[in-house]
């Protein structure tokens, strides 16, 4: 007996879609291939200050286009054309539009090796060891790397070399399936901007990692020096591969110790996952401690780099979680169970998506106004914030909150949602 797709589809439906509200289309994706739709959307868009982010992304893309020499002009043009096409076709654009910050980060990271050395700022070799020793009392990364054996090597390799690269995809898939609709695009944007800020800091404040100190002492560095796998060379030996030695030697960012994006990625993933699954928080924190240990054990980062990455991620997450992130409703099993979504933690920032989304569809507008009462804000983790803001809204604060809220909102985001969901009915 074969496993037909209809069988799989049925299984999927019984697992995820058993408690779908009958008329909810909130979780559905846009399946249109019509480019005109996107163009119409752009035409109707009201431009505002937050669209500067796309100008920034475009500027970085242009810079990368002219700096990178390795793939030829035609390949670069082809990539640019493909990405533009992916943004234009609605079915792909719903994925590639939130992907813009991540894409910008990836191409900027790749272009680093092509930036001429005389454009770059001077490398600091001693600042990070100084900060680590003075603020934390000792060279923590040295302490952890002092004693090696193959069991520890493998234990360090698992989060650093495996989970780190797989986790963004796994977290995205889990968030897409189980969190409120709209969580994944917010995660993608936060992840992308966090990494983009991180790489920018690495470019403007180049610092040497601990393996440099081990290889060359505290001698002055040049941009001619190639990357080193650090402790991952031992892992290559254990695995019998030449995976990390070759890739880290050819790394485009050799002097990018601060901030640690291994730490940054881990922390932002953990914060989002803990937001969606609060019960998993202890395990998730354990993962952060594990990957921190492994980065120092493999001599890739100082402790201060890890703190830098964590602070960057925490800041991005707090901005996003208070203003943009859809609230989790604990009684909902999957994205298909949601019939309404609240965004952000402050009541004035909240947008009832049901009302906003289906404003064009009269039939839906009526049914949503009836059904939006199903949402249970008391189950969401935001309830305590609501109480807080309600409590101090009584006097002079209220107008200010709404003022800042309207400023802080990302209307482009709302609109993309508005479009995405309203036109698929």
């Amino acid at each position: 007996m074969l496993l037909p797709t209809t069988y799989l589809r049925r299984k999927f439906r019984t697992f995820f879609m058993s408690d779908v509200p009958p008329s909810s289309t909130l979780a559905r994706l846009d399946r249109s291939w019509n480019v005109k739709k996107t163009l119409k959307r752009v035409q109707r868009h009201k431009w505002n200050l937050y669209d500067v982010q796309y100008l920034l992304a475009f500027t970085i893309a242009c810079f990368v286009f002219f700096v990178v020499t390795e793939p030829g002009v035609f390949v670069k043009l082809a990539i640019a054309a493909l990405f533009t096409l992916a943004l234009l076709v609605p079915i792909t654009s719903q994925f590639f539009f939130p992907f813009i910050p991540i894409g910008t980060w990836l191409i900027l990271f790749y272009s680093c090796r092509f930036i001429p050395a005389d454009w770059r700022p001077s490398i600091s070799v001693r600042v990070l060891p100084s900060l680590e020793t003075i603020l934390y009392g000792g060279n923590l990364s040295n302490v952890l790397a002092a004693h090696n054996n193959s069991v520890l090597d493998v234990l360090a390799w698992i989060p650093y070399g495996l989970i780190h690269f797989g986790a963004p995809f796994v977290c995205s898939a889990i968030m897409f399936l189980f969190a409120a609709p709209g969580t994944l695009p917010v995660f993608a944007r936060s992840f992308g901007y966090m990494n983009l800020i991180g790489v920018s800091i690495q470019l403007f404040f180049p610092t040497s990692p601990p393996w440099y100190e081990n290889l060359y002492g505290l001698a002055p560095a040049t941009y001619d020096i190639r990357g080193s796998p650090g402790g991952l060379a031992r892992v290559d030996g254990i695995l019998g591969l030449d995976l990390y030695t070759s890739s880290f030697t050819a790394s485009p960012m050799v002097f990018g110790a601060f901030p640690s994006l291994h730490s940054g990625c881990a922390v932002i993933e953990v914060l989002f996952m803990a937001y969606v699954f609060p019960r998993l928080t202890p395990f998730l924190l354990g993962y952060v401690l594990w990957i921190w240990w492994s980065t120092m054990y493999l001599t890739h980062h100082y402790f201060i780099d890890l703190i830098g990455g964590a602070i960057l991620s925490a800041t991005v997450f707090y901005i996003v979680s208070r203003n943009l992130l859809p609230a989790v409703q604990m009684d909902k099993a999957s994205r298909w169970a949601y019939d309404s979504v609240d965004m952000g933690l402050r009541p004035s920032t909240k947008v009832r998506l049901t009302k906003e989304f289906y404003v064009e569809d009269e039939e839906w507008a009526i049914s949503s106004s009836v059904e939006s009462g199903n949402a249970s804000p008391t189950d969401s983790p935001s309830s305590e914030w609501e109480i807080e803001t309600l409590a101090d809204n009584d006097e002079s604060k209220a107008p200010l909150v709404s003022n800042t809220a309207s400023k802080l909102q990302l209307p482009r985001y709302n609109e993309s949602y508005n479009e995405k969901f309203s036109e698929k009915v």
């Binding site: 020793t133 009392g137 923590l140 001698a219 002055p220 560095a221 707090y318």
Partner: protein
């Protein structure tokens, strides 16, 4: 930052009074934004009648660095306090890694050992504080801000101690040539300058964080209506008295007048009298 907490000076007849929030006592729910000219006129009035400063110390509170609603001027104080606590938790995790040196056999000094043990002991305290900062529990947040205050000074002492040791050996380590030209690297003097600048900035931020935590604690205390004398439970009552009686003029408006100029022998007596 203080645009909605404007102290206005009202000239009514011969007497001058300062105080009251603009717009809060009026009939309209919208606070009136005070025009710049009004600020100027109030300053002029204060110049002519300096006694208003003596009677009402409110303008000084206006200049205070302790934030009242916004952390760094634009982040809501609750979120700011949460971020400060998260930064604290992340920093205290260094104790775990420092103490791993016992297993790796890396030699550490007594000062390092003490710092690491203190960090490790404070880690659960900070985690518990994070829980309470999120839930806006006034009394634990007040206690945490005191702990943060003490921890800040301890950190300052450790920082000075370790930097003295570090910079003594900083210049001694000889630079050996690696590449052909060393022009793309900072020279030792500027690296030292950069390190000192960053450390001073970190410490200044820490001081501001401490002020912000106290500001958040004060916000919660005023919201919950806590006073030095209305604690519940034996231990909590004493703790609340100690913490809120230290600087009553900070925690409450005009809180200084109570219990002034009298001696008390026991805590219970003090709470009663207060």
């Amino acid at each position: 930052m203080m645009q909605h907490d404007v102290r206005c000076i009202i000239v009514s007849g011969p007497s001058i009074c300062i105080g009251g929030r603009a717009g809060t006592r009026g009939s309209s729910p919208q606070p009136r934004r005070e025009p710049a000219a009004k600020y100027l006129s109030s300053i002029i009035i204060c110049l002519h009648h300096p006694e208003v400063f003596l009677v009402h110390p409110l303008p000084i509170e206006m200049l205070s660095i302790v934030p009242r609603q916004y952390f760094l001027g634009f982040i809501p104080l609750a979120a700011g306090a949460e971020l400060i606590t998260v930064f604290g938790v992340v920093n205290k995790a260094s104790g775990i890694y420092g103490l791993l040196s016992i297993f790796t056999g890396h030699p550490i000094t007594a000062a390092q050992l003490i710092l690491n043990i203190v960090s490790l002991l404070l880690l659960p305290v900070f985690l518990y504080a994070l829980h309470n900062v999120r839930r806006q529990n006034a009394l634990p947040v007040v206690a945490f801000s005191y702990i943060y205050f003490v921890d800040m000074f301890a950190n300052l002492a450790f920082t000075i101690y370790f930097s003295v040791i570090w910079f003594r050996v900083f210049d001694v380590t000889e630079a050996t040539e690696v590449g052909k030209d060393t022009s793309s690297s900072l020279d030792t003097a500027s690296e030292r300058g950069l390190s000192i600048t960053i450390i001073v900035l970190v410490l200044l931020f820490k001081v501001y964080f401490c002020f912000a935590l106290f500001g958040y604690a004060r916000m919660l205390v005023r919201k919950a209506g806590l006073r030095a004398d209305n604690g519940e439970g034996k231990f909590t009552k004493q703790l609340q008295f100690i913490m809120l009686a230290i600087a009553p003029s900070f925690w409450h408006r005009g809180g200084r007048r109570a219990g002034k100029g009298r001696m008390v022998n026991t805590l219970e007596e003090g709470i009663e009298m207060y």
